[in-house]
Symmetry: C2
């Protein structure tokens, strides 16, 4: 398993993996699926987009970008997606570790997650094991597919 910057050849797999998480509707704020055109623009617009690859196949990806402007522009934000068929293989952990390294290299000083769903215990345990600090809980911060609201937990990690 290796992590590297994405290329245009990865685009189809990246969009498929991203859209899986969008359609699950339990982790990303985004509700709109990407197509080839919006996907190209979306991934190109990031500070960095990384993929995890094994045996020539893209199994996961992450996006990294500033979380705010100007005087808070040194805080970055990221999202991670792992193909549903490749979960449980610690690909998420590799993506987060690579993301922390890239964020540091790009000059960011803090990585902040804005909206980790409280019930997403798998992600939260991973983040906590990697040293992320929880910033309390925002009640009802995430609207699930059936319309009920779940709490979200912001996290940060100094870089």
């Amino acid at each position: 398993m290796t992590t590297r910057q994405y290329t245009q050849r990865d685009m189809e797999a990246m969009i498929r993996i991203w859209n899986e998480v969008v359609e699950e509707g339990v982790a990303f704020p985004q509700e709109e699926c990407l197509d080839m055109e919006t996907g190209r623009a979306f991934f190109a617009g990031q500070s960095y987009t990384g993929v995890a690859e094994a045996d020539g196949e893209v199994l996961g990806l992450y996006i990294l970008h500033p979380n705010n402007v100007g005087r808070c522009g040194h805080i970055c934000n990221a999202s991670y997606a792992v193909a549903s068929g490749a979960r449980g293989r610690h690909i998420g952990e590799k993506l987060v570790l690579d993301c922390l390294k890239k964020g540091r290299e790009l000059g960011f000083r803090v990585l902040q997650f804005n909206a980790v769903v409280e019930s997403n215990v798998h992600a939260r345990h991973l983040y906590e094991r990697l040293g992320f600090v929880q910033l309390g809980t925002i009640p009802g911060g995430f609207r699930m597919k059936d319309g009920h609201y779940e709490n979200i937990c912001p996290y940060y990690h100094e870089l």
Copy 2:
């Protein structure tokens, strides 16, 4: 003192007040001052822009907009600015109270502040008195004018 939606006639005063806070460099993430063109677009692009007025003079303003997209799009974010010559007259409090009301009216469910500078005790006491809950502290989240970093405290308030 009254609060109301802004009009184009308020634009010059609003831009002056906004730019004062930008130039002070201790509260807003933004580092770029607004001019008439960028100001018009900026204020028109908000979910709501309100002003506080006394004796026909605009003394403060706030902007209100979604803090995130899609499944977190019911969380809003706001910024407040009071003319330097009009501070200490509880205009900030009137703006925040009006903002909580407008946020609710617009269908938002949570108002979140992302980057209240820890040393801005005046603002923090006001927010806490009005029922905002602090979401921990992000170390070094705000770059001051001299280049040193100060901690920031996110806050939220249910609507």
